[in-house]
């Protein structure tokens, strides 16, 4: 690959370095960047398939506005930007700045984030800017702030390789952060004495490699870690010097823990695990000084998420296992730039550059630096509240960037209603059709990965460049530029005259360093922050272009920092870390008779968020192609549903339909549904619609991992699937899922009513109205099986398989036919079977047509069995035994074989 560009993967928070390039054909090639410290050359399957997601099909390439009739029409940038600016100004004039809001995304680059945060908090004067990171790691942020005084991940990925014990809590690392997981596995393979404990209600792919899996009851993490704290203290596993010198509030925290969880037997009972397993975990933790506790959404997405985080951190503070190689609590984030967003303050309860809204000194620092007309003084609306405010009419203009809240927020149908009721909904996106864009008044085309230019920060505080290697498609613009365009139209000429991301980055870096010291005697407002990129504030443009990945804080020489808090100095005013009392409490909504099961949601290995990109890559659709509800066979039996059939999943907030699966890793009483599918890919599979809109009181993060639900059969008369080169209409189908493949779209379908005339129905659905079309079909009415295929110029165009049962033929071979230019005659027969003709011996042209005996078969028999007469052939093969028409050929074949030189 020549002329590749070093950039950063746009998926999870691991932040892998990618070498991307464009080959002559226009295809994008990607490879892991061996120089990048986070992945050292590795890529997971999603990253490796990035090249397949870059096509412009489905992209939003021009600004669009919804007309009075509800239809979108293409408009110029000027029209669109004027509409956004006018709409925002009008709402602010009438209702004040709190009536406008921004809902942004961990997919934005730091520069984009910085500009929009600056506009909201410094110029419009509202903190109503929240982000989808709220759904993902805001509990970790809150936990960090409570414990350390600042939102800081103390360690780095290398700690997991150097540790003796890695505890993965609420993290299916193998699927969701594969490269970090591979680093752990590789360290084990290379002989590191590394124990792996997984704490997760599900037996996930991650557990396959674990030494111990604790399948705790959903939501009981605080009991587990309070119990651990009490256990460690009781057995003297404590760094008393560290606790004494560098922490506070230990006594009451321990008392709280002991109140909840002094008796491991009681903890085991509450958590639903075997006492012996629990003690094994506690002893492992006690014995291994070098312990990393990595946690993710299973911890964060909870009504007690922040307490879960602190209960983990408490154990690390007790043992002093923080800031040292191979130790530390480690929050791993889900998005590529959740960390960057946090750094610039892109959350409703932060100001900017790790400074706080409520702190007048911080406000003064930021406003002076920005020289902005105003500064937001009170926290804005967090994601769930924000959409409540929209529904209630308190927020009247909303600008959504790079996220899809109609799919991803809890109680998502309410979000849909909120957007429907909103005066002005603006969406900046790279894709034209999403569930959210369907409700937008203005659509602004943004740049996507490979086109945009800026920086991201990974879970280990590593700032890496995302560099463009593709031209901007259509009229798409960088998010920061769109925001600046609107800001200028709102009259804010001064703060938004950025010509390129470099200028934004150095301003951001400058703000992190601005008055970043202990207050001097002169009284000028100042505050110490760990986040300090001062050395990068003077980067030249070319140095920014060439910026190598670096972990903040960055010292004067531009050298990064592997670990923080090595000196025992924390960001609280007194320099100490805080133990936080974490009182265990169950999830808000307990299962009951009506909704007896607990819904857990999460990612699958090969998909990302709402599938706008990964849904395009054929390679990624094969792993798990359909929305599913994974449940225990006993629960399935009680609910009257069967594996492979469809089920309706209901909560008090919404319903969805998915296929029942027994993945084998689910506790009885729990079900798991992936978060990815939405109205663009399935009839009714937005799990967000079911999730209870309960949030953590501190962080505002929703409780995605615990919603009481029930499961019912979704009765259908027939199941089917279709392949087509073009999109097929889905209206009128009781159930459908769309799967994009290599040169085809696949639809899995089911319907309540069987069509009276399958052939007519299939022709209509596949759009084959020409009676002379090359249309082949098979029907077995007795078992309600119907299959048909449409061929154009010896190339398969589409095919459909219907059956009253869900055990339809395998899809793989049919899928492969769409890659071929020409349909082989032999494969044509297989079309209606769904599999290739058997690799049976070529029997040759038929000689005896009565019994269908081929020339090669006869020759072989004559040769091997030494047959002399046609009658002997008849006796052996039946050939010639009926009408006798082939007798002359039989005689001739005998003669031929006789005279042929023996091989």
């Amino acid at each position: 690959m020549s002329g590749h560009v070093a950039t950063t993967c746009p998926y999870c928070g691991v932040g892998c370095g990618v070498l991307a390039g464009v080959v002559a054909s226009g295809a994008v090639t990607v490879a892991g960047d061996p120089q990048h410290g986070s992945n050292q050359g590795r890529l997971c399957v999603k990253g490796a398939a990035l090249g397949e997601t870059m096509g412009l099909q489905g992209r939003l390439l021009h600004p669009q506005m919804r007309g009075p009739g509800g239809a979108l029409r293409r408009v110029t940038w000027d029209e669109a930007l004027d509409r956004v600016a006018d709409g925002f100004r009008s709402v602010i004039d009438r209702h004040g700045p709190e009536a406008v809001a921004f809902y942004v995304s961990g997919q934005l680059l730091t520069e984009d984030y910085y500009v929009v945060n600056k506009l909201a908090k410094g110029y419009l004067g509202t903190a109503n800017i929240d982000t989808n990171s709220r759904l993902c790691m805001s509990s970790a942020v809150a936990g960090h702030k409570r414990a350390f005084g600042e939102d800081v991940v103390p360690g780095c990925y290398a700690d997991m390789e150097q540790a003796e014990l890695v505890v993965l809590v609420g993290s299916n690392t193998a699927w969701c952060h594969p490269v970090v997981f591979q680093r752990i596995v590789k360290a084990r393979e290379e002989g590191a004495n590394l124990r792996l404990v997984v704490i997760d209600p599900r037996f996930t792919a991650t557990c396959e490699s674990a030494d111990l899996h604790l399948p705790i009851r959903p939501g009981t993490d605080v009991w587990l870690f309070n119990g651990l704290l009490a256990f460690l203290f009781r057995y003297g596993v404590m760094d008393a010097v560290f606790v004494e010198a560098h922490t506070r509030d230990f006594a009451q925290t321990l008392a709280t823990a002991e109140h909840d969880a002094a008796d491991p037997a009681e903890v085991a009972r509450i958590c639903g695990v075997q006492l012996a397993d629990l003690l094994t975990f506690y002893r492992l933790f006690a014995r291994h000084e070098k312990t990393v506790t990595l946690f993710s959404q299973g911890v964060n997405q909870s009504s007690s998420g922040t307490d879960k985080v602190n209960s983990i951190i408490n154990c690390h503070l007790l043992t002093g296992r923080i800031g040292k190689p191979g130790t530390g609590p480690f929050s791993i984030t889900g998005q590529p730039n959740a960390m960057g967003g946090r750094e610039v303050g892109g959350l409703a309860n932060m100001l900017a550059a790790h400074m706080e809204l409520h702190d007048p000194v911080h406000r003064d620092i930021v406003q002076s630096f920005w020289a902005s007309p105003r500064i937001a003084a009170k926290p804005g609306l967090k994601a769930v509240e924000l959409f409540d405010a929209v529904l209630e009419g308190r927020v009247k203009a909303l600008w959504i960037m790079a996220t899809n809240p109609v799919v991803s927020l809890p109680d998502a149908d309410r979000v849909k209603r909120a957007l429907g009721a909103c005066e002005l909904v603006v969406c900046s996106d790279i894709v034209a059709s999403t569930d959210t864009n369907a409700l937008a008044h203005v659509l602004l085309p943004a740049l996507g990965w490979g086109e945009k230019d800026g920086t991201v920060t990974s879970s280990e505080r590593r700032i890496s460049r995302q560099r463009p290697f593709l031209p901007s498609p259509g009229e798409a613009r960088a998010d920061w530029r769109i925001v600046c365009d609107v800001a200028r139209r709102l009259g804010f000429e001064r703060g938004f005259q950025f010509a390129e991301p470099h200028e934004i980055f150095i301003e951001h870096a400058g703000l992190t360093a601005f008055r970043n010291h202990a207050p001097h005697a002169d009284g000028a407002p100042a505050a110490r922050r760990q986040l300090n990129l001062g050395a990068l504030a003077s980067l030249s443009r070319s140095a920014y272009e060439a910026l190598a990945p670096v972990q903040w804080p960055v010292n004067e020489d531009g050298v990064g920092t592997l670990r923080l808090f090595a000196d025992g100095h924390y960001a609280h005013d007194d320099g100490r870390a805080c133990f936080v009392m974490t009182r265990a409490r169950p999830p808000v909504h307990a299962p009951d008779r009506e909704y007896p099961l607990v819904l857990n949601t999460g990612r699958v290995r090969d998909q990302w968020h709402t599938m706008t990109r990964t849904g395009k890559a054929p390679r990624l659709t094969g792993h798990l192609s359909e929305p599913y509800v994974d449940m225990h066979p006993h629960d399935a039996l009680r609910c009257g549903v069967r594996e492979g059939e469809l089920a309706r999943v209901l909560s008090r907030w919404g319903t969805m339909v998915a296929r029942v699966r027994h993945g084998g890793g689910i506790l009885a009483g729990s079900v798991f549904v992936p978060i990815h599918w939405n109205d663009q890919f399935a009839s009714d599979a937005r799990v967000g619609g079911l999730v209870n809109p309960v949030v953590d009181p501190v962080s505002g993060e929703p409780e995605f991992k615990h919603t009481p639900i029930r499961v019912e059969p979704f009765p259908v008369r027939w199941y089917g699937f279709a392949f087509g080169r073009r999109a097929l209409p889905t209206s009128g189908l009781s159930y459908w899922t769309l799967i994009r493949g290599e040169n085809f779209l696949r639809y899995e379908i089911a319907h309540r009513e069987r069509p009276a005339d399958c052939s007519a129905w299939a022709r209509r659905w596949l759009g084959v109205d020409d009676p002379a079309a090359d249309w082949l079909e098979y029907e077995d009415q007795g078992t309600s099986v119907y299959r048909a295929a449409h061929v154009i110029d010896d190339r398969i165009e589409s095919c459909v398989f219907l059956s009253s049962r869900h055990d339809l033929p395998a899809r793989r071979w049919l899928a492969s036919l769409f890659s071929g230019e020409r349909l082989e005659e032999a494969d044509r027969i297989g079309l209606l079977v769904g599999e290739p003709p058997g690799a049976d011996v070529d029997t040759g042209p038929v000689v005896c047509s009565c019994f269908g005996v081929g020339r090669n078969t006869i020759r072989e028999a004559v040769r091997v069995k030494g047959l002399d007469t046609p009658a002997q052939i008849t006796a052996a093969l039946r050939a010639g035994g009926n009408c006798g028409s082939c007798m002359p050929e039989l005689r001739q074949l005998i003669a031929e074989v006789r005279t042929a030189p023996s091989a």
Binding site: W775, L776, E779, D780, V785, V833, S849, N882
Partner: protein, 415 residues
Amino acid sequence: MSTKRARLVVIGNGMAGIRTVEELLQLAPDLYDISVFGTESYGNYNRVMLSLLLSGEKQADEIMLNPTAWYAEHGITLHAGDPVVEIDRARRCVRSSSGVEVAYDRLLIATGSQPIVLPVPGCDLPGVVCFRGIDDVERMVEAAGIYRSAAVIGGGLLGIEAANGLSRRGMQVTLIHRSHVLLNQQLNDDAARLLARNLQERGLVLRLDAETVALEGGERVEGVRLADGSRIDAGLVVMAVGVRPEIALAEASGIHCGRGIVVDDTLQTYDPHVYAVGECVQHRKVTFGLVAPVWEQARVCAAHLARFGHRRYCAAETATRLKVTGIDLYSAGDFIGGAGTEDLVMRDPRRGVYKRLVLRDSRLVGAVLYGDAKDGGWYFELICEGTDIAPLRDRLLFGQSYCQSSIANLAGVAT
């Protein structure tokens, strides 16, 4: 040769009679002195292949089954071209047209069938032929060299094969059929439509649902008049409207006949010395027109003539295959179906393939294959054996190779 040997006389030098003799010679080569009388002045030939002789795809010597030398070789006295005119059952001897008298201990009647001639005006005009023997083929070939157009009456197997043969010999052929379904004894509507289209593409003119009311002409036939008043010019008219068992000789000798010579399960007639096989017989009210059951009759009859007496003839399912090069057509069993049956149907018009299998209680009972008939034999086996096809149902229509792989896969999983 010993004069003590029993005497077997065979009336009919056709496929049924000679096959019986062949079977007999295998079982009991020295039991009988055998005499064979035949109307035609040839040895024994394969009547099924007359179509290919007509179409020019085979030569006369290629359709011969047993040359005259074969008779000599086996000590059989052949009276070719000298038909038997009388059976004297009291004296147990037969007399031929040339006056030869031969006594028998066992008599085998294999007189076959006669083509039906429509009793319409002009049916006896020169140029009106049936399609039964080598003589008929010779007359048709000769006419094809002289006349431009021909009409074939009857859209059954023979009619279609005759029409195709004449067409291949360059004649403009009109095929006249009473039903709207060609081959209505062998095909359902769907397959018949495909066949009709194929024949039309070959240049044949089809007149379906057409009743012949007269053959017109002076010295020689010149045309066919249909019931709707239209006339089809034809220098040659081939009647292929069916056959009826040739029973005149048997009836005259007082052997009990219905539509055919009535035989029991051993192929014995009401006269214990007299057996009958082939298209001239009536067995349990059924008469025969296809070759497969005749082979079985020959096998059974030979066993009884050989005095083994261990076989019985049971009417079995029959299968049909059209002998028209380039048209792959097969039907077997109850291919119409009805109450209590289920259909598997496949259509691939581009490849010209139509397949229909009829199931009853998870067993295959009938098959129609058009365009791709290579699995016909296998289906016929499944029909005859009454195999439970439930495990194969999803693949059955796609042929034996798919089903074998499925069986193999199942076995693979099990082991």
